[in-house]
């Protein structure tokens, strides 16, 4: 109680205190950065959840190879849920020009419940959202079918016993999964026409689907009921993740945002530590006095901790306010990712903000401030009685622990979090050691310096501990600024180049081996340079080592779907440099290519539990082929180039039936040439990925801007560190300056001494910071983002030059009022 009273009374004073202000600013910046990103990612997550539902066309899809009982539909409606449905089956559609195997989708009213179907007036033409479902008596066709069946809009097509009019070309179906290559071209018509086709009977093979959407509680109840009443053959599909390309880009954007926020927190933490240290020094007299008057140590410590908590809570609240405002800016920058409206954020980031403020305060401030416990009470009589410094190890340990909590929470990726932590620790260690080394070196060299420099450098060397701490502080601040000025541009540029303007926007599949040369020639004539032609062979995975594949043994989801479907296999002689080998070795030696060997993508290897040395057996057109996995590859799926999960040595698939695949960038004016090519080679299928490509590009474009925006917090934190570091030595300098003035130094002379000291401090800190920035740039680019790194020599020019001049200027400005103080008054005060 008493402590609370004291703390409350100290509040007005604390609000005016320089140390508390720096501390509060640092906390507000840290919490602001974290909550801005927190609020924003919270909203994005919610939008992603909603968006993912558009990928299955509903919130929940029930799929069965028997007709779905009407009772289930009624049950869902009874829960207040929306329902729709469709039936799919393969059938041959015919026109006068010929017939083609199609994948029929007979859709019911209200399809789809989530997302929309996009149509165009001609194959690959301008897209528009569909209004409703196909009218009875009409059909919507996959663009590939137009060339293959030689039809146009308005022509008739025969489906079973029914004759349908072609009403549109399908540009996009929300619930068509990523495996575009495996689907026969789509033919969509109204479910009301289904019976008249005569294609559905007891014996025929089809899949019935019930789509359900609505509020989460009702969905959960319905799902529980279904789970209890399910029968064999029923598959329940919930919300799945977005497309892999989009997910990769979004994950990267999120990693960037998280990194930027964490960087602000690290810097703010450094400022908190410096300010807390100064605060403890300033509070030493009052604390000794209280003890002298009979206060328990616990009362003194509790009072100070309470005061810090009050400031911490106030600063965190301000930070959360700033974060809230700032996230609106972020949403404005990237809102277009999800249309205009992002759902409002939850209140979670508010709680996280307060927790983060407290963790930062305790982690970075507690050890420095706790030295108040060791203030000698004799200080009231002998001012020279000094407080022992806190243990650097304890301070670092607690700071690292706090950082670990924040980083692991923010990154939610242990590998990334480990990297950030190790990087920060290493950076602090290197900064500290380099600073200590440089301070010593300066001490040795000062004898050779002249005039103001001699005093200035002597000042640096005389207080090795303070100088080292200041240099680390300045170094961190400058590091942040350099990262922003130079490394950020380099890294973001590398990210932008990830999807270059001429990234492939079309895939061409099903090219017959005999047609490859002719197709290449046609593409070149149209001004298109394909990114390589690759053979593609269908194969079903039969066994891993000696274990036969049983799909039921795999967990539901991706692994089971993989083993149930056919793989697209390909063979290759040479390794493509953009695919990094992460385990084992490529068959570079011609002799190695003669034995059957496999290269597997690391993600799928992980899902299937396959490692190098394992043997995989595939069924390829009735023949079993077995090869040993000799390497695992990392594939950049968002490169939009043709890639395969499994590659073999050329001999292994010799003689297997192959078609060829390529990807290329088709400029807008080459559309008619591509169309003509498809008519000349009707077997060939063109897949347009322009839309996904554009989505990925816009994520990167807006993500870059969002990251730059979050980095404003990092700049602010960097500036707060610089302010804290200058302020830390203010009291000490005040006495020094008074002494120098008393001993007869003119103001100009004192200025030159201070200037020399700050210049040296700044330049040396800049040198360390530039090295740190180069290292961080490399680590982030190469290790975290898997992008190539380029060294930028400007770092050192800006670091040493800018650091020296900037700190000299800031230091002189900060100490300017001290030059005007009367020496006697200062010395009397002590």
């Amino acid at each position: 109680m008493k402590a609370a009273g004291f703390a409350l009374r100290a509040l007005p004073r604390d609000l005016r205190s320089r140390e508390m202000r720096v501390l509060a600013m640092a906390l507000a910046v840290a919490v602001g950065a974290l909550t801005a990103v927190g609020f924003f990612t919270d909203r994005v997550d919610r939008a992603m959840g909603q968006r993912a539902t558009t990928l299955i066309g509903a919130d929940l899809v029930l799929e069965s190879d028997d007709p779905i009982p009407a009772e289930w539909d009624e049950r869902a409606r009874g829960e207040g849920l929306q329902t729709s449905g469709f039936v799919t089956f393969p059938t041959v559609a015919a026109t006068e020009a010929g017939s083609e195997l199609t994948s029929v989708k007979a859709v019911g009213t209200d399809y789809p419940l989530r997302g929309e179907v996009l149509l165009s007036g001609s194959p690959y033409g301008e897209e528009r959202p569909a209004r409703g479902i196909p009218e009875p008596g009409t059909a919507w066709l996959d663009p590939r079918l137009f060339a293959r069946l030689d039809v146009e809009l308005g022509d008739r097509i025969q489906v079973g016993e029914r004759d349908l009019r072609i009403a549109a070309s399908i540009a996009q179906e929300p619930d068509r999964s990523g495996s575009l290559f495996q689907l026969a071209p789509r033919l969509m018509f109204n479910r009301a026409d289904l019976e008249s086709t005569g294609l559905i009977s007891e014996a025929s093979r089809f899949d019935d689907h019930l789509l359900v959407a609505g509020n989460p509680d009702s969905l959960e109840r319905f799902r529980a009921w279904i789970d209890a009443n399910a029968r064999p053959g029923l598959e329940v599909q919930g919300v799945e993740n977005a497309r892999p390309e989009m997910r990769a880009a979004l994950e990267r954007a999120r990693a960037f945002l998280g990194l930027a926020a964490i960087m602000a927190v690290i810097l703010a933490g450094a400022a908190v530590a410096v300010a807390a240290h100064s605060l403890a020094a300033r509070e030493a007299d009052a604390s000794a006095l209280l003890r002298c008057f009979g206060a328990h140590q616990r009362l003194v410590v509790t009072t100070l901790l309470l005061r810090l908590s009050v400031i911490g809570v106030l600063a965190s609240a301000v930070g959360i306010g700033i974060g809230w405002l700032a996230q609106n800016g972020l949403v404005t920058l990237v809102g277009a990712w999800f249309g205009d409206a992002l759902p409002p954020p939850s209140l979670r980031p508010v709680g996280v903000g307060f927790a983060a403020g407290l963790i930062t305060l305790v982690g970075f401030g507690l050890v420095p401030v706790m030295r108040i416990r060791r203030v000698p009470v004799m200080r009231v009589l002998q001012h020279s009685a000094t407080t022992p410094e806190p243990s650097a190890l304890a301070a670092l340990g607690l700071a690292v622990a706090a950082l670990a909590v924040l980083v692991f929470y923010q990154a939610s990726d242990p590998a990334l979090a480990r990297w950030i932590l190790l990087g920060t620790l290493g950076m602090l260690l290197v900064l500290g050691l380099a600073a200590a080394g440089l301070v010593r070196l300066v001490g040795r060299l000062r004898g050779r310096a002249v005039s103001g420099w001699r005093f200035g450098l002597a000042n640096l060397a005389r207080r090795p501990r303070t100088s080292t701490v200041q240099m680390v502080g300045f170094g961190l601040g400058l590091l942040a600024l350099l990262l922003l000025a130079v490394v950020r541009v380099d890294v973001l540029e590398a990210w932008r180049n990830d999807v270059p303007p001429d990234a492939p926007n079309q895939f061409m599949v099903n090219v017959q081996p005999d047609d490859v040369e002719a197709v290449k020639a046609r593409l070149r004539d149209a001004g298109i340079e394909p990114a390589g032609f690759y053979p593609m062979i269908r194969g079903r995975l039969r066994a891993i080592n000696d274990d036969e594949i049983d799909p039921e043994a795999f967990a539901e989801g991706r692994a089971r779907r993989l083993v149930e479907r056919e793989f697209n296999l390909s063979w290759a002689e040479r390794h493509r440099p953009e695919n990094e080998i992460v385990a084992g070795e490529w068959w570079s030696d011609p002799a190695e290519r003669e034995r059957p060997a496999l290269s597997v993508e690391e993600g799928i290897a992980d899902v299937l539990g396959v490692e190098t040395g394992d043997r995989l057996t595939f069924d390829v057109a009735g023949d079993e082929v077995t090869g040993e996995v000799t390497n695992l590859r990392r594939v950049q799926w968002d490169s939009f180039k043709v890639n395969f999960f499994v590659l073999t040595t050329p001999d292994m698939l010799d003689g297997a039936p192959a078609t060829w695949i390529t990807s290329y960038y088709a400029p807008p004016d080459s559309r008619s040439a591509v169309d003509a090519l498809v008519r000349e080679f009707p077997g060939v299928t063109v897949l347009n990925v322009e839309q996904i490509l554009e989505q990925v590009r816009s994520i990167i474009r807006q993500g870059t801007r969002a990251v730059e925006y979050v980095f404003i917090f990092t700049v602010l934190a960097g500036i707060v560190v610089l302010v804290a570091a200058v302020q830390a030595s203010r009291d000490e300098r005040r006495v020094e300056i008074a002494l120098l003035r008393t001993l007869g130094a003119s103001r100009g002379r004192v200025r030159s001494i201070l200037g020399a000291e700050f210049l040296a401090l700044g330049a040396l800190a800049g040198l360390i910071a530039a090295s740190g920035a180069a290292l961080t740039g490399w680590a982030v680019t190469d290790r975290v983002l898997n992008l190539p790194y380029h060294f930028n020599p400007w770092l050192f020019v800006l670091g040493v030059g800018g650091g020296g001049l900037g700190i000299a200027l800031a230091g002189l400005l900060a100490t300017r009022p001290l030059l005007g103080e009367r020496p006697l008054a200062v010395l009397r005060r002590g």
Binding site: R16, G294, M378, L381, R828
Partner: protein
């Protein structure tokens, strides 16, 4: 607790050394001292003679290298720092050479501080009365940096006397004041002491101030001797 005994403060064999056994320096050398209740004792001596160190040890602000201090009949060596602080609370007052007011607090709040620590009731009224007694009734809300040196030392006097301590330690109370202001502060200090019968241990190098005390001791080279009048 022995509060009623005649001796309020007793030091025996009080020794303070700094540094190692060979290179060390003896600041206080086996000091013995007894201060009866109500007495005013002056400790005289040149700068660096160990006066302030002695004061600190007598008040239990620091621990001696050897020997013991009994304060209100309680041996300080038997207490830890918190125990010593608790023993001082409300019963020991201090006046320092450098005033030692808390910069951010007003004059009134500074005076309230020891009262609150001693869990007294009516803290604000008592503090205000104490300030009025030293002639600062009009400057209750002023902060230390808004007061002159003499006024600051008067606030310190009010703070020292407000809890009505049994024992007051004063360390060169006029050391930072000019002659006239210093004399006024000393006059006020002795008035208050006499009014309340407070025991006083006063460290000074001013013979004139020392002469106002009942007994004068001289510190020389770490040893304490009775001064001859």
């Amino acid at each position: 607790m022995g509060d009623d005994s005649a001796t309020i403060l007793k030091a025996s064999n009080l020794t303070r050394r700094v540094g190692g056994p060979d290179t060390g320096l003896t600041i206080l050398d086996a000091i013995a001292l007894e201060v009866p209740r109500g007495e005013a004792v002056a400790v005289l001596g040149p700068s660096g003679s160990g006066k302030s160190t002695l004061l600190g040890l007598l008040a239990g602000l620091d621990a001696p290298s050897a020997g013991d201090v009994e304060l209100f009949g309680q041996s300080l060596s038997a207490l830890d720092e918190d125990g010593r602080a608790a023993l001082r609370a409300g019963r020991v007052g201090f006046v320092f050479q450098s005033f030692q007011l808390v910069p951010g607090l007003s004059a009134l709040e500074n005076v309230m501080l020891p009262l609150e620590l001693a869990d007294r009731s009516d803290v604000a009224a008592t503090a205000q009365a104490a300030l009025e007694q030293v002639g600062l009734g009009a400057r209750l809300r002023h902060r230390p940096n808004e007061l002159s040196g003499g006024e600051q030392q008067r606030v310190a006097l009010a703070r020292a006397f407000a809890p009505d301590p049994q024992l007051l330690f004063a360390d060169e109370p006029t050391g930072n004041l000019d002659g006239r202001t210093g004399a006024a502060v000393i006059d006020r200090l002795f008035e208050l002491r006499e009014e309340r019968g407070t025991t006083l241990v006063l460290v000074t190098h001013d013979e004139a101030v020392a002469r106002r005390c009942d007994r004068r001791l001289r510190m020389d080279d770490g040893r304490l001797t009775e001064a001859v009048a």
